[in-house]
């Protein structure tokens, strides 16, 4: 009798243990699932951040004289921000800046690719800031063949004719599919050729290995800039919803002379030291040096810096 009772008790205990384990697993799975749904994984707030003023995962170098230009190869990766960035003004980008800290408050030229709340995809851009001319940004488009744009003769604005069903326009091209996973080239170079007696301006180029028609533009020349700092990395703005795949910054170079009557190429030296890192006290974005420029030699030149979010 007692043996039978013991056997039943043992079976019940064994069964209870299995049920308890199963319940515990179920609870854990529910918790993990809900955490992922809310964007909070573990102890990190993966998709929420406080970047009302932009947050950075970046690094910079200072020159004792002048940087005549800046160059880096940035791998093209996927962002997520379109319609997910919590605030309408949210955006995320990977880019390079050429900065004159002596130009109060600051003058700079930057180039990179970004995504904001309203972008159809990753979009290339450049930005030129001078305190007397005001900041100015341009959204360019894809690196690679763009759909033909036929210049139109300006006309007196006509009274719009509203059609019941407007003809759909082709989708705006952004970064060509072939560029993802590859490194595109970002170059900012001082140019004194146009009018040697006038302040120099900066040329901005964004292009891929095909060396086809590049994206870019020309900066303002007022006030003149004497750049002494190069900054590379990721910028994040807003309060949540943005993500970025890991991206690398390689071939970190600086120009040793401007474009002039005798020089029409980017004459450079490579960075040979890690930059000074600027990483928000509460990441994201995240950034780090993968390959030290001091030991990378030409593989790659200027080392490898990487960013990711979130």
């Amino acid at each position: 009798m007692k043996a039978a009772q013991a056997a039943v008790t043992g079976q019940l205990a064994h069964r209870s243990t299995r049920i308890s384990v199963a319940l515990a697993l179920a609870v854990m799975l529910i918790i993990i699932g809900s955490e992922k749904a809310s964007g909070i994984v573990g102890s990190g707030k993966a998709h929420q951040y406080t970047c009302h003023t932009p947050c950075y995962g970046a690094t910079y170098w200072l020159s004792k004289s002048e940087y005549f230009g800046a160059y880096t190869d940035i791998s093209i990766v996927h962002f997520q921000c379109t319609s997910t960035c919590i605030t309408n003004g949210g955006f995320i980008d990977n880019e390079i800046w050429l900065i004159d800290d002596s130009c109060h408050p600051m003058c700079w030229v930057e180039a990179g690719y970004m995504m904001d709340h309203n972008s159809p995809g990753e979009v290339f851009f450049w930005y030129d800031a001078r305190h007397s001319s005001g900041p100015a940004w341009v959204l360019t488009g894809p690196v690679g063949p763009a759909p033909p744009i036929v210049p139109v003769t300006p006309t007196v604005p006509a009274t719009p004719t509203v059609f019941a069903t407007p003809t759909p326009l082709p989708p705006t091209p952004t970064v060509p599919a072939g560029d993802y996973g590859h490194k595109d080239h970002f170059m900012i170079i001082k140019d004194t050729r146009p009018m040697p007696a006038s302040p120099a301006l900066y040329l901005i180029f964004m292009y891929n290995d095909s060396m086809g028609n590049p994206l870019g533009g020309t900066s303002s020349d007022n006030p003149p800039m004497i750049a002494g700092r190069i900054l590379i990395g990721q910028e994040l703005h807003g309060t949540g919803g943005a993500t970025a795949e890991p991206a690398t910054f390689t071939r970190n170079l600086f120009a040793v002379q401007s474009l002039n009557a005798k020089n029409v190429s980017f004459m450079y030296n490579k960075q040979t030291q890690k930059g000074t890192d600027i990483v928000s006290s509460n990441p994201p974005p995240m950034a780090n040096w993968d390959i030290d420029p001091a030991t990378s030699g030409n593989s790659p030149e200027g080392g490898q810096f990487s960013t990711r979010c979130c």
Binding site: F91, H131, P135, A158, F205, Y207, F266, N269
Partner: protein
């Protein structure tokens, strides 16, 4: 004896030659990258205002105002509530360049654009300082430029001198 002297002279010559080669200064090490060739592509921007007409301009001033009133300005800390006035004109790229004091946007001079001049309080953040501190400049006038044919947002920024700076 002659052979000895000859050998000595030859040796000295070789030594001098080698020392001269060693003294040769290598090039400074500067390398170069060719500038990209080809024509700078005209900016296409990103979708903003949905065209409602096959004419150019393909949308109305009211469409522009509605867009600006409902979208934060890109690259700024400015919400629509900070905008007190909006003036919309359809002008050429050349005329826009003159207003914004820029020349090299990559848009042909005769291309028709939609220029929206904004008044209010506009704050544009800048890159962090050397010490990692945030920077920004505030302006009383700003602008956004749209493609008059596609409605795409092409450019934006501020006008005039900053009225306040941080950093």
């Amino acid at each position: 004896m002659c052979k000895t002297v000859l050998a000595f002279c030859l040796g000295v010559t070789v030594v001098i030659a080698l020392a001269g080669c060693g003294a040769y200064k290598q090039p400074s090490g500067k390398q170069q990258i060719a500038l990209p060739t080809g024509t700078l592509q005209q900016p296409v921007g990103e979708p903003a205002i949905t065209p409602t007409s096959r004419d150019i301009p393909a949308f109305t001033k009211e469409d522009v105002i509605k867009y600006i009133r409902t979208h934060d300005m890109l690259f700024s800390d400015t919400s629509p509530s900070a905008i007190t006035g909006i003036e919309v004109t359809f002008i050429t790229s050349k005329e826009v360049n003159k207003i914004i004091n820029r020349q090299g946007t990559g848009i042909p001079d005769n291309y028709l654009l939609c220029f929206a001049r904004l008044t209010g309080t506009f704050t544009f953040p800048g890159p962090p300082t050397i010490k990692g501190q945030p920077t920004s400049s505030t302006y009383e006038e700003a602008y956004e430029v749209f493609d008059a044919k596609t409605g795409n947002l092409l450019m934006g920024g501020a006008l005039g001198e900053a009225v306040g700076t941080i950093g």
